[in-house]
């Protein structure tokens, strides 16, 4: 089953950022279940063959105040090192921050560490991005939908797949963990379908 982890503070935002992903998976015949990031049980992670961490609204940064809830992603010995993960926008930020912060992810004062790895980058709407190599079925120039106001530096064990100055699609060099800054559920549904088909 594919686990969808909602990062939305407001449940009403799940209609915008979670339900479209659920629809793509349902239409592809892929079984899935959704949990809020504050309500993940160990059994959920064990039952997940793949994980998608969703995006959320522009104004919602609550997940950054609760990074310790993603401790299960940290370190080399994570349970999930063989589990394909796709982080979308906020999901990408979470994956990269957990990599940077490592054992410090459980430290509630880590926000102070963001300043040197976070950058303001407001991008809203359709943009053309160029993929230097195939990324979950996308290649060449593609129109993608952006809705973000921050980016984070990409950790050295993530490879960048787009030519833009701000990395838009990255993959861990050792684990099947993917992340996009753009929202594929709007314009690039095939990316999510390709991820769901990964073996």
């Amino acid at each position: 089953m594919i686990l969808i982890i909602s990062t939305c503070k407001e449940k009403l935002h799940e209609k915008e950022f979670v339900e479209p992903i659920e629809t793509i998976l349902k239409d592809s015949g892929k079984k899935h279940f959704t949990r809020h990031y504050t309500n993940i049980k160990k059994g959920d992670l064990q039952n997940a063959k793949k994980i998608i961490i969703t995006g959320t609204s522009l104004q919602d940064n609550e997940y950054l105040n609760n990074l310790e809830t993603f401790s299960y992603l940290r370190g080399k010995e994570t349970l999930l090192k063989q589990t394909p993960i796709l982080g979308i926008c906020a999901g990408m930020q979470i994956l990269t921050l957990v990599e940077y912060l490592g054992q410090e992810v459980g430290n509630l004062n880590v926000k102070a560490n963001f300043a040197n790895i976070q950058k303001k980058q407001l991008e809203i709407g359709y943009f053309k991005e160029e993929f230097k190599q195939e990324f979950l079925g996308l290649q060449g120039k593609q129109e993608v939908y952006h809705l973000h106001q921050n980016t984070f530096k990409i950790p050295k064990n993530y490879e960048t797949y787009t030519l833009s100055k701000t990395p838009q699609a990255i993959k861990h060099t050792e684990k099947p963990w993917y992340a996009t800054l753009f929202h594929p559920e709007v314009r690039n549904k095939e990316l999510i379908q390709t991820f769901a088909e990964l073996t």
Partner: protein, 222 residues
């Protein structure tokens, strides 16, 4: 949260309002932009003047902002209206009925970001036939008041959205690539009753104008 809806009187913005209220949000006010240009780029125009009547039936205050309806200038008028809602009603966010229009969604997201407001789009990327089915299931009574696409004709004005309507738009979708929810401007709607209304709206009279495959029905309501 205290929210305001960008309200056109049509099915999408009304349904988005209903979904927000159902989840416990307070709808502090509605915001309607009244374009002088009947072919406004951003704003739904047939019978937009009737939103005041709909607001009364929902017992909600409404801010009505006029705009000349010129491309991009009308965005500034929208921003003014949202700022007014923030000042007068202390809103924390905006609700829209956007389904697929990135043109609309992008512009509204930018305004909300500038004004530090949340932006809720609960119909975003929804399957449009499912959206129509949900409207019927949730007892929305909706009529067609504008058409602007082949092969639609004058006899569509006044049509109700019901199960046979859904079958008809599904056929049109397969044959012509028709947008079933009308978000491409194929048709415009007016909500006459729904769970948000204290009483249904009655249509006292109407006037149809247009030709060929472009018609609109101007309503006078109570």
């Amino acid at each position: 949260m205290k929210l305001a809806t960008l309200f056109s009187g049509g099915k999408d913005s009304t349904y988005a309002t209903y979904l927000a209220k159902k989840q416990g949000h307070e709808i502090a006010c509605l915001i309607s932009i009244i374009p002088e240009n009947k072919d406004s780029y951003m704003f739904h125009t047939p019978s937009i003047n009737q939103t005041e009547t709909q607001a009364k039936h929902m017992n909600m205050p409404i801010i009505q902002q006029k705009t000349k309806g010129k491309k991009e200038e009308e965005i500034q008028d929208l921003e003014k209206a949202i700022q007014k809602a923030k000042k007068e009603y202390s809103i924390q966010g905006i609700i829209t009925g956007a389904v697929e229009s990135v043109y609309q969604a992008t512009r509204i997201q930018k305004i909300c970001h500038k004004l530090q407001l949340e932006c809720f789009n609960p119909l975003w990327q929804k399957n449009q036939l499912h959206l129509l089915e949900e409207l019927i299931k949730n007892k929305f009574e909706i009529i067609i008041i504008g058409i602007a696409a082949y092969p639609l004709e004058k006899n569509w004005l006044g049509k109700k959205i019901d199960k046979s309507f859904i079958k008809e738009v599904e056929t049109l979708q397969k044959k012509y690539g028709f947008n079933p929810a009308g978000e491409g401007g194929e048709y415009e709607t007016f909500v006459t009753n729904c769970p948000l209304f204290k009483t249904p709206i009655s249509i006292e009279q109407y006037k149809d104008t247009g030709k060929e495959h472009s018609w609109r029905r101007t309503l006078h309501t109570k």
